[in-house]
Symmetry: C2
Subunit: 112 residues, 2 copies
DNA sequence: ATTATATATTGCAATATTACGATGAATAGG
DNA sequence: CCTATTCATCGTAATATTGCAATATATAAT
């Protein structure tokens, strides 16, 4: 029915899914990579950088902000975004907590 | 328009987005965690474990398989799934390549 | 062959996402 | 005050996702 049954899952599972959803669009990845690269935070240069309309970029920025991955600071007329370093660290650890849970499958990888 | 303009982005950006999309549902996280935990790979126990219909689980499994995260082996009547260890390692490195790109912001976190 | 078991696929309804033009709000400069 | 600039929000169209019942397929056992 297009609606996710979040109540069936743990808090951690839902948290990971929400964060993954924030990463689940190449424009948002591109925005994050841009921010990672230019540390000094950026606004609507993204409109020129990516080939998307201003409204679309704004929408993606809002989603990244809702997920807590980025912050926005008013800078006169323009809006300056940047990655939230603490959240970023949390997210990294949350994902790696999952990535690292894989077992060592013995000498000949007989997992399955 | 509901369609992602993949041609605007790099191969890596699209790859990350596709993988993130595979993670972007708590049921799929739950399935992966189950597989990570029971190493010995699992099939429709997931239907009992999670509270979702068999068809729904099957659909999620297909998406995880399409993303390359899991493999399916026919085991008599049933289907045995497991995580693809090599792909898992690739995915981990791809995500960490992004996570680790964050700059050290100097003594007082003056990023923005 | 028939039945039981296990999983995949199809078809559909409800909802979510993506994209953009148009419009609104807020600031800076004249 | 008027205008330009920058960004957010609204409304809308196109498409994707989620979930499940029903049905199909495939193997194993009797």
């Amino acid at each position: 029915m297009g609606i996710t049954k979040t109540d069936l899952f743990t808090k951690e599972q839902n948290e990971l899914a929400v964060l993954a959803k924030a990463f689940a669009h190449p424009a948002r990845i591109a925005i994050l990579q841009y921010l990672l690269d230019s540390n000094t935070c950026i606004n609507g240069d993204l409109v020129n950088e990516l080939g998307l309309a201003q409204a679309t970029i704004s929408q993606h920025l809002r989603e990244l902000k809702n997920a807590g991955l980025i912050q926005g600071n008013i800078e006169g007329v323009s809006m300056s975004y940047c990655i939230d370093p603490e959240k970023w660290e949390d997210v990294k650890e949350l994902f790696n907590g999952m990535f690292d849970k894989i077992h060592n499958c013995g000498p000949k990888d007989e997992c399955c």
